[in-house]
């Protein structure tokens, strides 16, 4: 309770009601999507008479049968795996880079440190998406020539992970630096005096102390990789859930509730994270903005 108890109950309920009203489109939009995935027909028209419960959409989706009739098949599990691979890759790269750089920016004084931090802030304020033409050109120039498709596919995974991770780097380094800043200097000094090198201090003392921060950064990076569409559709040869939905929404054969099911499936990890890690989400989001 941040306010004292003399504010009136009634006032509180008015505020809650107003918030609920403002949130209505949001609640409605997501609920109808999820509901439609369990229905024979879309229920986005708010007509509950068109809701007929069925698990068919989900069954077909998980078998990769795109249309109710006909033989259009996709390997949906492969698509889920691709999405996961990108998300985990981004999380790994971002976590590694930001725990290393965040530590040194927080703890080591060096010439150019201030300039590097200013550069990071500018990059953070200026999303790298504007540079996507250059990033793609670099991709074209570095892609291995004369190799089989498998090599190309692998390279496109490698590249999309790095390119997407790079977008998260300035913010994550800054966030991680903030977490390292909160660790009292005595821990560091104690390690140094006991004979640890900076790398040992980082690995054996600091990383265990900032575990919640690492978790938060990894989580954000994972969700960033998971939700992405622009980079995935630009660089990745294989399909992810995002490009799958993009490709099938207007296709004539596609059964709308099935796409709704695909969307719900795609939303699932986000929801899980929401429930599991809500504290971390709400707290660390603001952590990145403090000096």
């Amino acid at each position: 309770m941040k306010d004292i108890e003399i504010r009136s109950e009634r006032f509180q309920w008015i505020v809650i009601l107003a918030l609920l009203l403002a949130s209505l489109p949001l609640i409605l939009g997501y609920t109808l999507l999820i509901l439609s995935s369990f229905s024979k027909e879309m229920v986005t028209n708010l007509d509950l008479t068109s809701f007929h419960f069925t698990l068919e959409n989900w069954l077909y989706l998980l078998q990769g049968k795109l249309a109710i009739t006909g033989g259009i098949r996709v390997d949906i599990w492969r698509i889920v795996f691709n999405t996961l691979l990108v998300a985990l890759g981004v999380a790994l790269v971002v976590t590694l880079v930001s725990t290393m750089a965040g530590y040194s920016l927080s703890r080591i004084d060096f010439k150019g440190r201030k300039h590097m931090m200013i550069l990071l802030l500018i990059l953070h304020a200026f999303p790298g998406v504007a540079l996507i033409v250059g990033v793609y050109l670099l991709y074209l120039l570095t892609v291995p020539q004369g190799q089989g498709l498998d090599v190309l596919r692998l390279y496109s995974f490698f590249y999309v992970i790095l390119a997407r991770a790079a977008l998260e780097i300035p913010m994550s380094v800054w966030l991680m630096k903030g977490f390292f800043d909160t660790v009292p200097w005595e821990f560091e000094w104690s390690g140094i005096i006991d004979g640890a090198s900076r790398i040992e201090v980082w690995w054996k003392i600091m990383l265990p102390l900032v575990k919640p921060g690492i978790l938060a950064v990894a989580l954000f990076a994972f969700l960033a990789g998971w939700q992405d569409i622009i980079y995935v559709r630009t660089f990745l040869i294989d399909q992810t859930l995002a490009t799958f939905i993009e490709a099938n929404i207007e296709a004539e054969y596609s059964h709308m509730p099935l796409i709704a099911a695909a969307g719900t499936l795609y939303l699932l990890p986000t929801i899980v994270f929401f429930i599991v890690a809500q504290e971390i989400l709400l707290q660390s989001y603001s952590g990145g903005i403090k000096g």
Partner: protein, 362 residues
């Protein structure tokens, strides 16, 4: 075991002068307290000895070895921090073993040494616990054990008792002093608590604004303060100070007159000084009822402390504090005379706030 010599240590943080030309020799096996108010630079000095800070100017020697450019880990010092800095993700055993592991000491030797030092500090039954499962006093022992396990040449302590409650502090104080003497280790102890410094140290260095004001045994700094600040900072309640004017063989203190103390006669004559500050400790005077020979004043307030009481006396509006026996009773506004033990009087220069004898020697 080493002797530490600091030569002309100066440390700047940007424009801020944290340490100003510090010269200090800490003898082998000595317990040296660095005493000063917060922000005086005493911790900075300690961390400079440890190697955390590099002096802007000056050299540090351990015996004859110049360690100024040697990184902290090669100085073989043990440091106990104010917040103890126990690694929360390691057990007590792992905490104490950490310095040895970094030195790649064989496993069985680590085991032996940790048990040895744990036994010495009476924490051998806590080794499997985590720091957050320990009381403050236990955590403090672990921190000392971790500092001692690598058999350092120097033990550095940064206000290690300030996070303990009062009773525990008194207990650990005695124990720590005993431990230091048993191990025969050179110890430097930073504190802002004058009672702690007086009780534990062989010698005390009083620091203010990055300068060492006085170095000496507890007795010396207590009874012969070189500066008014030292007299004020040590002792509870602090030394009394009243302004006085020299009138021939007498000192005029407001409406009273007392003779110039014999040990100051020559000095005052040589210096030809007129205005001084008279300082004396609250227990170096006694209160006589009525008007007599001494400082005349009236009782402003009195606070019984059990065995004795502190009487606040107004000398024409300036307050001084004097101890009196518990059985004596006072009334507010009562006229009294304060008789000061002549040999305990210190006279300070009014401008420089230095005891006159030091002014004279300079």
């Amino acid at each position: 075991m080493v002797e530490i010599t600091l030569k002309g240590i100066t440390k700047r943080f940007g424009n801020f002068l944290a340490l100003d030309n510090i010269n200090l020799k800490i003898n082998d096996r000595e317990f040296m307290a660095l005493l000063g108010p917060s922000g005086s630079g005493k911790s900075t000095l300690l961390y400079t000895i440890a190697g955390i800070y590099r002096p802007t100017r000056g050299r540090i020697y351990f015996d004859d070895r110049d360690v100024t450019d040697i990184p902290p880990k090669d100085r073989n010092v043990g440091l106990v921090f104010q917040n103890w800095a126990l690694y929360p993700h390691m057990t007590v055993f792992e905490n104490i073993a950490f310095p040895l592991e970094l030195r790649k000491v064989p496993r069985d030797e680590i085991e032996r040494k940790v048990r040895e030092v744990a036994k010495m500090l009476h924490i051998e039954n806590l080794l499997h616990r985590y720091p957050w499962q320990l009381s403050g006093g236990q955590q403090q022992r672990v921190a000392i054990a971790r500092a001692l396990v690598k058999e350092p040449d120097v033990l550095l302590l940064d206000e290690p008792l300030s996070n303990l409650d009062t009773l525990l502090r008194l207990e650990v104080r005695a124990e720590l002093k005993r431990l230091q003497k048993e191990l025969g280790i050179t110890a430097v102890y930073v504190t802002h608590d004058q009672a702690e410094a007086l009780a534990m140290a062989d010698r005390i260095a009083v620091i203010k604004e990055g300068k060492i004001l006085q170095v000496g045994t507890p007795n010396e700094v207590y009874y012969k303060p070189k500066y008014k600040f030292v007299g004020w900072f040590l002792g509870n309640p602090p030394m009394n100070f009243v302004e006085a004017e020299v009138e021939g063989d007498y000192l005029r203190v407001y409406s009273s007159r007392i003779p110039v103390p014999s040990h100051y006669r020559e000095i005052i004559e040589k210096l030809g000084i007129k205005e001084v500050i008279l300082g004396f400790r609250p227990h170096d005077a006694q209160i006589v009822k009525g008007v007599g020979d001494g400082l005349l004043g009236e009782v402003y307030s009195f606070e019984p402390l059990g065995r004795e009481q502190i009487v606040t006396i107004s000398l024409d509006g300036v307050f001084i504090k004097v101890f009196a026996p518990e059985e004596e009773s006072f009334t507010f506004g009562e006229k009294v005379t304060v008789e000061i033990r002549e040999d305990r009087i210190i006279l300070f220069d009014k401008e420089k706030e230095v005891a006159l004898e030091y002014l004279y020697k300079d």
